[in-house]
């Protein structure tokens, strides 16, 4: 490493960012990994279920154990991890403006910039949605699995995608009861094996159903749900009152694109992957050749795909900075793409694969 050289700066120390930083450091490139939180790992440490995939994707290993492995590797490699460090600005020319511990402000020039800022859970507004007791599914998951506190005892889960169904299961593991999982669409969204294990625990699933309102004086005391028609309109007379103290919303995520906008990355709209997001090429490069986007910011998928995207960007950035020869870059890239490809098949993966292909096509047009 040359003393005057600008490091690769990775923003976000979740699964994607950690993997990008690890690939860069392994290749010998200078890298700085920044995260606003006090602890690295992003949302991995609240994932206490065994992951899908195959051995090379760490299948069967629980999310938080994967997080521990990645942290151990980053420590072993001696990556410069800067926690409690918020990136609040990016100037063209790749000057990164960071604020450490809310008190110390500084700028750092980046050789390459890798944005792994993740996604934000969507809200859903209905009468009573601001009442204490209404929260995102991820919020409940953080409370039970990271902080070990139960936000409530009887839960209504809104949304049957994998997040909703997995968090419903984990709430039961934490000692809560789940009154129901409701889904606006006529069919459940999550993996059948997930819904099956929640159903056999006695949790009913209601499709074509929405929440009408949350009721309670100072916090949730009940939820009113109702069936909806093909136009998503509530059907009069189908209202049902559920006796719950907590309503969890698992209604999708939106990529956290703010920094990519500051870096003037071209944004595109891909509803299947969460809405607006920076376009990227097959190396995860945005329209700004020095800026890579990986993980949920580049289209909401899963931790397993996020890790592979992070590796792809880390490998390419290391090569672009002169720390990897052409052949090694090609071999490592092909291996990583193979693993990514394996995760984007089947009835669930194909939709994401098709959406990702559209991103590549739109990036070429950019």
């Amino acid at each position: 490493m040359r003393n005057d050289e600008k490091p690769a700066i990775v923003v976000g120390a979740g699964p994607a960012g950690l993997c990008a930083a690890i690939e860069l450091k392994k290749a010998g490139a200078p890298v700085v990994l920044m995260d606003e939180n006090a602890k690295p790992g992003g949302q991995l440490f609240k994932q206490i279920h065994k992951f899908f995939g195959s051995q090379e994707h760490k299948a069967g290993i629980r999310g938080f154990d994967i997080g521990k492995e990645l942290l151990a590797e980053s420590l072993r490699l001696g990556i410069d991890v800067r926690l409690k460090t918020e990136v609040v600005g990016i100037e063209l020319g790749l000057k990164v403006w960071a604020v450490e511990d809310r008190t110390k402000s500084y700028t750092l020039d980046a050789g390459k910039l890798i944005l792994a800022t993740g996604a934000t859970e969507n809200a859903l507004s209905f009468p009573g949605w601001t009442l204490p007791g209404v929260m995102t599914a991820g919020c409940a998951q953080t409370l039970i699995n990271v902080h070990r506190v139960l936000p409530g005892k009887r839960i209504l889960m809104v949304g049957s995608g994998n997040v909703g169904v997995i968090v419903a299961y984990q709430l039961m593991q934490a000692g809560a009861q789940v009154a129901a999982v409701i889904e606006a669409l006529p069919r459940l969204g999550g993996y059948g094996v997930h819904t099956a294990k929640v159903r056999r625990a006695g949790v009913p699933f209601y499709c074509s159903t929405t929440i009408i309102r949350a009721e309670g004086a100072e916090s949730v005391e009940r939820a009113v749900i109702a069936s909806i028609d093909a136009k998503f309109q509530p059907i009069p007379g189908t209202e049902q009152i559920l006796d719950v103290d907590t309503i969890c919303l698992a209604v999708g995520l939106t990529p956290s694109i703010e920094l990519s906008c500051l870096a003037e990355c071209k944004q595109i709209y891909i509803p299947e992957l969460g809405g607006n997001m920076p376009a990227h090429d097959e190396y995860m490069r945005s329209s700004n050749q020095s800026v890579y986007v990986v993980g949920d910011i580049a289209g909401v998928e899963e931790a397993s795909t996020a890790m592979e995207e992070g590796r792809l960007a880390g490998i390419h950035a290391a090569w672009a900075m002169g720390y990897m020869d052409d052949q090694t870059m090609k071999i490592k890239t092909d291996e990583t793409r193979g693993r990514l490809q394996a995760l984007r098949q089947g009835i669930f993966g194909q939709k994401r694969f098709a959406a990702k292909e559209r991103i590549l096509a739109m990036r070429k047009d950019a």
Partner: protein
């Protein structure tokens, strides 16, 4: 492939949906030492069942979204695949005279104890009949997924999938 109507509306596969993909074991297959039952009827990217099997009795192959196929001539019903399955979709069922047994994964507290009376449940979580806990194992390699064996009347063997979760206030 069918559209798995029951799975995608109730959350659980129906017997017909399992049968349609060859995943409903017959009572003949369950006689004696029992047989492996995998209920994994959707193409999801996952193959730890295959890699966990020391006998090579489960094949997913490539792509890893293929549904698992069991070679019963190789399967020794060792049960290593039960905790390995991230979807908790694997059980071992056996029948003998008028009794049936099921070995299934379990990740809730409190754990039952051997000899406990429990309520068996079907795939929809409805209570079927009384059962009794025969064994419970949770070695290190299970990575926190316990494997429980329960015994119950044979006539419920196709519908039984697990035991009722006892609700305790934390």
């Amino acid at each position: 492939m069918s559209n798995n109507e029951a799975l995608k509306t109730t959350g659980a596969p129906s017997l017909e949906e399992l049968l349609a993909v060859g995943q409903l074991a017959s009572e003949e297959e369950m006689e004696g030492r029992g047989c492996l039952c995998i209920e994994c009827i959707e193409e999801i990217p996952c193959n730890p069942c295959q890699t966990s099997c020391p006998q090579g009795a489960i094949t997913v192959g490539f792509p890893i979204t293929n549904l698992p196929v069991i070679d019963r001539s190789k399967c020794t019903v060792c049960g290593l695949c039960i905790p390995a399955c991230p979807g908790q979709a694997i059980t071992i069922k056996s029948v003998k005279n008028d009794k049936a047994r099921i070995r299934f994964p379990w990740e809730y507290l409190p754990f039952p104890s051997v000899g406990d009376s429990v309520r068996m449940v079907d795939r929809l979580g409805q209570e079927l009949c009384d059962g009794r806990i025969v064994s419970i194992t949770n070695p290190e390699r299970n990575n926190k997924t316990a494997v429980i064996t329960a015994e119950f009347p044979r006539k419920f063997v196709q519908d039984a999938i697990s035991i009722a979760r006892s609700h305790t206030d934390v």
